[in-house]
Amino acid sequence: MHRTRSQLAMAAVAVALGLLVVVQLRAQAGNAGLAQLSTQDLTVLVANLNARNDQLRREVSSLEDELATLNQNRARGEESLDELRADLRRVRAYAGLDPVGGPGVTIFISGPIDGSGVEELINELRNAGAEAIGVGDVRIVTGVVVTGARGAAAIAEAPLGEVFELSAIGAPDKLTGSLTRSGGVIAQLAATQPDVSVTVTPVDRIELPATTRTLVPAHGHPRL
């Protein structure tokens, strides 16, 4: 009797101990990343996640429609050539394999900017939702990098010179606002490279060429 009571007490303490250890470890491990963000950063994160999730939801519903159409056609014994062509056109435009046109911005740059300054502008354009970006006859796709010291910026090893234009397709107001906001990328460039002038102009229509690069990796194959 005495022994059973002591064993029960031990068991109860062991259970409580186990629970607390787990809770404590979880509290330290789980979300350690998010918990360290300031309230302001959290607000930015929530805005970003909201916008992205809306975009992903639209993609899910368009893929669901596409799959439904493909299945219907198959059930009727019909081919889905239109769907295949539409899919091909969409993916090729995204990857930069076909020329594209649409509204956006042109960024006029003059002065001895360096490669990383141009990369900052490109990154901010992407962050603001740019769908396609180009400089002159070069489409900026994966693998295309602007390099070089101040006054020697070059894209894919071709010198850009000290006066050139960067063009991007996307929502003109959003792209312009994002680039020119106070403390934004252009303000930072003005502080670090004061002899470079950067002007953003919203435009109704720009056209960007297809890339001339081979985008299919030679050193990889599809993983099944």
């Binding site: 509290a27 295949l84 993916v91 649409g102």
Partner: protein, 261 residues
Amino acid sequence: MTLKWLRSIPSWQITLGAALLVLGFLIAAQLGSEGPRVRYTTQERTPLLETATELQAQQDELKARILELREDIQAVEGQGAGSADLVRSLNAQLEEARIAAGLIPLTGTGIVLQLDDSQALVPPGTSQADYLVGSHDIRSAVEELWVAGAEAIAINGERVTPTTAIIDIGSSLLVNSAYLAPPYQVTALGPTDLYDRLSRSPGFIDFVRARAEAYGIRLSFAEPESVDMPAFAGTVTLRYSRPLASPSATPAGATSGSPEG
């Protein structure tokens, strides 16, 4: 006298006593760690943290769903019968375009570059941010890898595509709007001499000097037999861009200025 007294206590009581002592410490630790959060509850912080966590979980689900739907679509498209030649040719073009766009997971030769925050003590009067891996570091690493001949890149499982932005959020990163925390693993698919090319690149040598040597940013490499490149789980639907009639799509009579669709 004391020893005798101790011996008279049953051993289970000693064990229980020790366990209770640990329990007490844990309760104290738990309460202590909850202190700051309790203080935030009255402000807007806790709901924000909960919203962000929930949105992250939603994002993960949506991404998984996109990958699943793409696989299903590909499977149905691949089964297309009928005028087999045309369908087969379109499917082959689609596969190539999807690989080019980063929509298909790949495996091949390559390297993994890992970047982690410095463990050096931050001297007073200097900026702590210099000792942390920031978006600028990851962008430099990605750019150097492209220059060295990388053919596909992913950061902690997020595939780098033509629309990928890498930005700071606190001392962490957003890549494709996914929240990533250090250590960052930059996986690059490329030629077998990718590491040699990277380590010889003047830009990369400068980067190592400026970040690893000056601030103790921890850089390490792995050269596994093969690297796995994840597929991009995001949108490829362009809302503002329209494809122009390209020479490959419409060979006859197309002018580059006329929009299609």
